[in-house]
Structures are given as structure tokens and as C-alpha cells.
């Protein structure tokens, strides 16, 4: 496309936005996000960054909207832009890690979690994800340190409260992997005290009891786990539709 025509198109597209004003567009995007209307939010934040490409927050929120709209490549680009523009933006780095994590690009995700934590060491979500990836790579001691750090933090939101229990669970799995079944059982009991429906914690508790020779308790926990697994499956028989 001819550069002049392209420039004209950008200006024309930006006209209504300019008419509406950056702040109004930005707020429209935020409202759309709250309403879980991610397509509208994406459109608004795209207009916002077109209007003010030097606004870090607009790029960050565009990343949020793109990510929520399952546009991973575009989300990665937006978060990268925010991270480049603000060397102290821990959330952009964490969220970039999250998108990569969702795409199973664990090594790259780990890099971004680590960068987020260099800026904000007590960033609980980043610390949890760092631990998860390290555990995936069997870097168990580092993973335990990450989950341990996570457990020392005080949750500031319900989401962080959930994350803390996730850290507790994974710390328990690592104790199990280290064949420290007493500690694994203790941690899983704590997880289950908070959330009795945690299927995997139920399994670890049962297997820890099994290892500790507490066979009857093991059988009880493992049978509970089996039933929970069956229930979670939500089987819905498939048949060919009748014509």
C-alpha cells in the first residue's frame, strides 16, 4: 500500500477517536473489559495506542484485552511494547510470561517471570508461575524456593489467596517428589482443610499415607480421589444426532 494512502487511512480511522478523545476511548476499553466484552475492549485500546503510542498503560491494557480475546500473538506484541517502554513494568513482564505459559512456551515464560521478579520480588503470581515452570523442568530446589517465597507473602486479594494455596499444593508435591512423605502429607492436609475439593491434593495425601504405611487412611483418601476424578470428568455420552 502506498505510504501516503496508509497515513491517510490511519488519520481517518483515528478521527472518530480523536473526536471522542483519548480518555473517553480508554475508559470505553476499561468498561468493555469489566463487561467481559473483549472484542470491544481490544478495539478501544487499539484506538488508544494509535492515538497515543507513547502511553505505556494503553499498550499494557491492549495486551490484557488481546490476551482475553485469545489473540496470543497480538497480546505478546502489546506486552512486549509495554515492557520495552517501561523497564520497571513488572506486570507487563508477568503477563507476557502468562501468555507464553498458556502457549506451553515454558522456557520463554520463565525468562519473563524472572524479569518481573527482578523488579518486584514479592510479586506473588509471578513467583507462583516461576515455581510451576521450574518444577516442570525438574529444577526442584529452585521451585521449592519459589513456592516457599510465595508462602511467606500475605495475600492482598482473593486471587492472591487462591495463588497462595496453589503454592502450598505445589510445595507439597515437591516434598512428595523428595520422598519427604511426612511433610507432603502435612502440606496436603492444609490444602484440603481450605479446599476439600482439591482432587490432586487428595491423591497426594492418599499416596503419602500409603508411603507412610497408613494403609487404611490411604485407601480412604484414594477412594475419595477416585470418586472425585470420576465426578470431575462430567461424562456426557456421545451419539450420532437423530436425523
Amino acid at each position: 500500500m502506498c505510504p501516503i494512502i496508509a497515513s491517510l487511512l490511519v488519520v481517518l480511522l483515528a478521527l472518530p477517536a480523536a473526536a471522542a478523545g483519548y480518555d473517553e476511548i480508554f475508559e470505553r476499553g476499561r468498561s468493555a473489559m469489566r463487561a467481559r466484552n473483549f472484542a470491544t475492549a481490544t478495539e478501544a485500546f487499539q484506538q488508544a495506542v494509535d492515538l497515543r503510542p507513547d502511553e505505556v498503560d494503553a499498550w499494557f491494557r491492549l495486551g490484557l484485552a488481546r490476551s482475553a480475546n485469545d489473540e496470543d500473538d497480538a497480546a505478546i506484541a502489546a506486552y512486549r511494547k509495554a515492557a520495552e517502554m517501561d523497564p520497571q513494568h513488572a506486570k507487563a513482564r508477568n503477563n507476557l510470561g502468562n501468555v507464553l505459559f498458556r502457549r506451553d512456551a515454558y522456557e520463554e515464560a520463565l525468562t519473563w517471570y524472572t524479569r518481573a521478579l527482578e523488579i518486584e520480588p514479592d510479586y506473588m503470581l509471578a513467583r507462583y508461575h516461576q515455581g510451576w515452570v521450574l518444577r516442570h523442568y525438574n529444577r526442584n530446589e529452585e521451585a521449592e524456593a519459589a513456592f516457599g517465597h510465595c508462602l511467606q507473602l500475605t495475600p492482598q486479594s482473593s486471587r492472591e489467596q487462591t495463588t497462595r494455596f496453589d503454592c502450598l499444593f505445589f510445595a507439597g508435591t515437591l516434598r512428595f517428589r523428595a520422598e519427604d512423605y511426612e511433610a507432603a502429607a502435612r502440606l496436603m492436609e492444609q490444602v484440603l482443610a481450605a479446599n476439600g475439593g482439591h482432587v490432586e491434593a487428595r491423591y497426594y495425601l492418599g499416596m503419602s499415607y500409603r508411603r507412610l504405611g497408613r494403609i487404611d487412611e490411604a485407601r480412604e483418601q484414594l477412594e475419595l480421589h477416585r470418586r472425585m476424578t470420576r465426578a470431575v470428568r462430567k461424562d456426557t455420552p456421545v451419539e450420532k444426532a437423530k436425523p
Binding site: D104, N138, N140, Y203, V238, E239
Partner: protein
Amino acid sequence: MRRKALLCITGVAFAAAACAGDRPATGTPPVPAPHFVDIAAAAGLDVVQVSGGANADYIIDSLGTGGAWLDYDNDGDPDLYLVQGATRDAPEGPPDRLFRNDGDLDGDGVPHFTDVTEAAGLGDRNWGVGVAVADYDNDGDPDLYVTNWGANRLYRNNGDGTFTDVAAAAGVDGSRWSTSAAWTDTDRDGDLDLYVTNYVEFTFERYPARGELPANDKPCIWRGVEIFCGPRNLQPAPDRFYRNDGDPDGDGIPLFVEVTAQVGLVPIEPMYGIAVRAFDADGDGDDDLYVANDSVQNLFFVNQGDGSFVEESILAGLAYSERGTEQAGMGIAVGDYDRNGFIDLAVTNFSHDHDTLYRNDGALLFTDVSFPAGLGTASYFTLGWGIEFLDLDLDGWQDLYVCHGHVYPQIDGRDTGASFRATDGLYRNAGDGTLTSFPGGGGPGMSIKEASRALLPVDLEGDGDLDLLVTHVNAPPSLLRNDGELGNWISVGLRGTRSNADGIGARVYVIVGETRQLREIRREASYAGSVLPRAHFGLGDATTIDRLVVRWPSGAITMLTEVEANRFILIDEGEVAAPGETAMDAETLEELRSLGYIR
């Protein structure tokens, strides 16, 4: 390439005097590593194994087909049976094939295989999946059990190069969608019984094709890709177990009795059976059974000593992954990879999960060590099928080979991290519980990208290294000749008299200095196939085995001493002591007992 070494031996007395090995002495030993070269086409194995429609519109298009190594004509070299599937448009598929091994006639290093299907009276055209070989009638030649969607076949080997299907008369034809099967003498009466895994109660009329909306209005989607439905939410087909009652009226037709429930081989609910392997999990002298199921838990049936079973998968740690999640079991490897005297298991699973390595800690307790071993992370994006513990570099540690290939052709070009056709996995056992890679990567054969399914190891030329036949979906198989410069070896076959004819279920121990290795004689492969009943050992630099001990299914024990390496030996049960007696010295017997090898 080394010349074939073959030795037949009966009993203890002749062991030390066995003929000398033919492996030439070498100077500085090279770093051992397998080097695989595909010789299938040159060997005449260029037949496409049809296995469903190319678009995989139905679940039946997904399983692929297997095959079997067997010496059907008893001429000493391995022949090959290849299973053929079919398609919806042509449900009577191409015939299964039997290829006779005519050896390396022109000296080019490649054996030639001749299609003898018709002459052998074979050529089943049902939609086949797998085949299980065994000498079920103990007459000295291998018979065939073919698993199909529809009626299965039991081909009795007539001993003259021909076969007769006796499945219906014997009561083992079934009518379900059978996948794998294992022959095992679970009641230790001297003949082999039969476990058959069944998958889904499938018909084209019952289930929607890919793209059709099911009656429950839930489209079948995987990671954004429209796929065939199942197996979850389809009706599972229950497995079957048949007790071999011999040929009571002497008419050449065996009598098999379906005793699945009677002997306790019934899970808490029907599951999607894919593969089965017999192994002695606790070293108590009887065969236990492990069944890999798709999408749900796996099963572990512990033999109570009388041929009856108790299902103990969950308490043993063998039902789920480390995290207690259901996986999608495909193939099963059995072997003592850590040389602790107990048989470990490895199970292949779906992509975006991981293959699972279960370390046997004894006392019927297993630990999922997939991630500590390095297998968990490495197998995350791959969908595995055939898998075996094999000493591919002959260093004394069993390595791991894994067949890869997805079930959804539609994932190609999508951002899932996986692909329909994939290279297989090759892991070197580092000897410290971890799996690493081989220097050189295993040669050009490891670059083949296909949708692989069955893995059938064999020592094709009798030169002591393990070659591999790998089947592929809708493609000819690969025959991977191992051209690596490797360590020393020994291969052991058995001829049972009180036990079943091939010694299926026997344990073979090789002791060199402080090093102890264990194998069991089995026919079933990890998925949909069979192999020769051999115990194959890599010995590294060792040229002599201090002690070679066989624990027969009958309970009898054979011990050979000072056995030279680099040969195949055939040991006859007839020359050994009766059960409870032993020709070995008390010190050795106590040592083997203390190690848990003998009870």
C-alpha cells in the same frame, strides 16, 4: 556388520564349554551409540499398512496397526507378520501379510523378505489392529492371535508353513474392537492363557463423523481443532481373559474358556483398553498384568498365586500420573531400567501430557519418576505409542525408545506445538536414573517423521544389537537396522518342558561382577504386536558372564557359569533340577534370594 553367532545349549553342564564368541577383539573401544538406518524398502517391506481414512473422521481411523516377529518356519531367523486395517469406504481391507525372512542372499547387509501370505493360508481382511504370537499348544511352533474390529483370528501353526484359523471353534473370536493381547500362563499350568484388550463399542452408524454435531450438541474440539469424538463419552468395550484348557478331545481345536470375571480381572467400570503386558511385579513367581487404558486410569491386576487377581493400580501408584490425573495410556514398556531387581514400567500417553515412568520400589509400590528422570518434560508435546526398554548401545543399561505420532491430522499447521507426523524418541539410560540423549542422535533413522504406532525390536541379523521395526499410519513400516559400534552382549532363548514351550514368564538374570541384570521372557510388545521370546542383554566391556540364572515358570532354576559373551544360547528346561531343588550352590541361591530375585 558382525557375523551371526548361534549356540544351542541344554543344561548346566555344557554351559562353560560353549563355543567361543565370534566378536573380533578391537583396540580402543568406540563410544557406544546406536546408529539406525532404515532398510525397509531394500528388504522388500514396502507395503503400506492401511489404517483408516486419511482425515481421521472417526476414532477407528486413529489406532494404526501393529505386527509381529516370529519364526513361523523354525529356520532360525525372524519372519514378520504385518497387520492391515481398512477404511470406511473399503471396510474389507487389504489382507494381513506374512513375510518370510530369506536372509541376506546377496551379501549387501540387507535381509530379503518374501510375501508368503497366500501360501501360508493367512490374509485376514478384517479391520486389524494388532497381533499376539505364542505357542499356545506347546507344539514347538508359534501361533498367531490377530486382534480386529470385529472377529479376531486364532491361527494355529500347522507346522508345515501353513496356518488354520481356529478362533471361532476355540471360543476366542470375540466380536468387539480388540486392540492388543498378551499370552501369559497366569495359573502356571504349563499352557498360555490369553488377555485381550478391547477399546470402544464402535459402529459407524452409532457415532458422528468429525464435523457432525453429536446428539448432546457438544462439538468435539481439541485445542480449537475439530476432531473425531472419543474415546471419552463413547461406550467402552470390556476386556476379556480366556483360560487355556488345552485340547481335551484331541481334535486339534484348543478349548479356551472366558473367565474374566471368575478370576477377578474386572475393573470397577469398563475402560478403553489399548495395551496389556504381563510381568512379575513383586518377583513372587507368578504373572501380574498391567493394562493401559485410553483417557481413564490404568489397571494393575496382582496375581494371588492361584491365577486369580486383585486390582491394585491405585494403591500401587500405577493408576494415574504423579499428580493423580487420568492419562491416555497407549503403550507399555516393562524392564528393570534401574537394575534394582524389580521390573519397572513406562507408559506412553497423549500429547500435552507426558509419558510416565513408574519406578518399581518393591512391595507392589511404584513411584512416578517421569520428571526426575527427564522423560516428563521431554515428552510433553508428543503423543506416544510403542515404547520399550532396550539396551540399544549394549552398555548394560536399558535405554528407551518411544514411537510418536498424533491421532489428529488436522493439528498440522495449527499452533499446538505438536504435529501429526513426528520423529520418534530415543533416550539413553545414563545409569543414574536419568534419561539423556545419545551422541550422534541415533543416526538417520531417527529423522523419519511419520505417525508411528507399534515398536517391534528384533536382532535381525543375529549380530547382537537390537534393530527395530516401527509401524506407521497409512505408510510402509520402517526397519531400522542398528549399525552402531556397540558393547558385548548375550541373547537367551528358552525351551520349556514342564513350563510352556517358550518359557514365557521365565526370569533370566545375568551377573557380571557386581552388576546384575534382569529380563523376563515375553512375547507381547508394548502395543499391538509381538516379538521373539528372547532375553537380550548388553554387557559393555564384559566378555564373560559370571552367572546366568533362569527361574522357569515351573519354579525350576537353571544356573550357568562362566558363559562367554556375544552369542545366542538356547537353554532347555529338561536338564535342570526339579522345582525346589537347584543345581546352584547355596551361597548363590541365598544371594539371589536376598536380592529378591528368587523366592
